[in-house]
């Protein structure tokens, strides 16, 4: 026996024979352990011992007068602990040994081969340590995952609250804008009816109020659209539409409201596509408004509708304005991005983003080109999508 003390080992020994217990202790000492042993002979004693303290290993005889190896293993499993459980017994037959291992015993040794005991304990301690480490790693992983999921759910809830608020706020803003615009336009009609010949001092002010009310309405619509885009609630109503006449009408509308003289439309009619009429009109008007806004020196604005290949439709809006600085070009379709920040012409930075999302929902693409001679050309390519087309319903709006 070695003079130096071995590794401390707390052993719960299920054994009725004190002679056999002594053999186990000796085998452990010889194998390099310094065992502290509690011997139990019944299930009650074993439960009490398990409750009392933490053990390193359970070593159990197979047959006892009032207890057994399999019953001890069941008691251990009831405690949901992962202690190494080693059976040490006389010959019990191969079937019983296999059954014990299947039930979860970690090893099975014969009493006359106790030299194997210490190495078996050492190996099982290591494996238990590995199992414990894996279990902790798994727990940690699950804890982190749960924390991440909780944070994500909280963030998503906050975004939903914000988007819901934007939708409610935009809707509430529309109510006063409706009566503001209608009252202003009624006043204009009443002035027209009076048809005074002298220059009308009120007319100009009323036009400013009317135009600003329209502008408010557009900004509010953009806010609504962007929150719909964010929450995935922007749904398309697809119908068969002639894009040539849609673009021509939209350009005429922008020309009337801006007074811009040099607008040219090239559109071979008809160019049929399956699109959301109002949404594509919104994209065209947005691109036209941008072209006007960022052409302070005037110049021609060209709009082209063409069919580059069967099934595809190309809409291009070309201006000769101030263009977009190279360092801003990459992000022009981002939400809230303003290519010309601090410029009084810039809006909420939502127009191009919403246009991009509308075109993407149609399965198309939008891109900006910067011709060497200056200005900007926005190009929208849409799939005609006629397979899914149904004739447009007659709706008055």
């Amino acid at each position: 026996m070695s003079a130096s003390r071995g590794a401390p080992l707390e052993v719960l020994l299920v054994e009725d024979s004190s002679a056999d217990a002594a053999l186990v202790v000796r085998a452990l000492r010889e194998g390099g352990f310094d065992p502290g042993v509690r011997r139990v002979e019944t299930a009650e004693q074993m439960r009490a011992a398990l409750d009392e303290r933490v053990w390193d290993v359970v070593i159990a005889d197979f047959t006892l007068p009032h207890f057994s190896g399999p019953a001890a293993l069941a008691v251990l499993h009831q405690r949901a602990t992962d202690l190494p459980f080693i059976v040490v017994s006389g010959a019990i037959g191969e079937d019983a040994a296999v059954a014990m291992m299947k039930a979860g015993a970690h090893d099975y040794l014969l009493k006359d081969r106790l030299a194997r005991l210490a190495p078996a304990v050492r190996r099982e301690l290591q494996e238990a340590a590995v199992r414990e480490r894996d279990r902790r790693a798994q727990e940690e992983k699950e804890r982190l995952l749960a924390r991440e999921q909780k944070a994500r759910a909280e963030a998503e809830a906050a975004i939903r609250v914000r988007d819901d608020f934007l939708i409610v706020a935009a809707h509430e803003l529309k109510t006063p804008i409706t009566s503001l615009l209608a009252s202003t336009q009624l006043l204009c009609r009443q002035l027209d009816r009076e048809a005074r010949s002298e220059p009308d001092p009120y007319r100009h002010r009323l036009q400013i109020i009317e135009e600003q009310a329209r502008r408010l309405a557009r900004l509010v619509s953009q806010l609504l659209d962007v929150s719909r885009v964010q929450s995935g609630k922007l749904a398309l109503e697809l119908h068969e539409v002639d894009l040539a006449s849609l673009v021509t009408a939209a350009v005429a509308g922008v020309q009337a409201s801006t007074g811009w003289k040099q607008m040219v439309v090239h559109a071979p009619s008809p160019v049929l596509a399956c699109v959301d009429r109002l949404r594509i009109e919104q994209v065209v008007i947005n691109l036209m408004d941008n072209a006007v806004k960022f052409s302070p020196g005037g110049g021609e604005i060209e709009v082209d509708v063409s069919v580059p290949e069967a099934g595809l439709i190309r809409l291009a809006v070309r201006d000769h304005g101030i263009g977009i600085p190279p360092d801003k070009r990459e992000r022009i379709f981002d939400r809230f991005h303003q290519a010309h920040a601090n410029d009084h012409r810039s809006g909420l930075g939502l127009g191009l983003h919403i246009s991009h999302e509308i075109v993407a929902l149609h399965g198309g693409q939008i891109a900006a080109e910067f011709p060497p001679e200056g200005g900007t050309r926005f190009v929208v390519v849409l799939p005609a999508g006629m397979a899914a087309a149904s004739p447009e319903e007659e709706v008055a709006t």
């Binding site: 009566s179 615009l181 009609r189 009816r193």
Partner: protein, 124 residues
Amino acid sequence: VTPAGPILVVEDDQAILSSIADTLAFEGYAVVTADHGATALDVVKRQPIALILLDMKMPVMDGWAFARAYQSEPIRHAPIVVLTAARDAARWAAEIEATAYLAKPFELDALLALVGRYAMSARD
């Protein structure tokens, strides 16, 4: 052109109600107003109506409930034009089988074009 009765404007927002009513009166139409569906229902039971301009979200009785009650009344039914600030205007109009819809805020010209079209078709 004389429609078969006044135009009924059903709208809970007083500012919108008065600007629509004043515009219609200025353009020579007879107008009656109601600030929600229940008062509108009293109006349609009392007299023939040429056209109904109907807000959808209202207190007491909303546009859906009004349309249901109105259509079950044993009277001649005027066309309904839905006026709403919601993007679901088209769907809501379809739900109550309205003749047309107009999204708020609207251009007065667009409102008058609709009124001209449907108030006349309701004449006989």
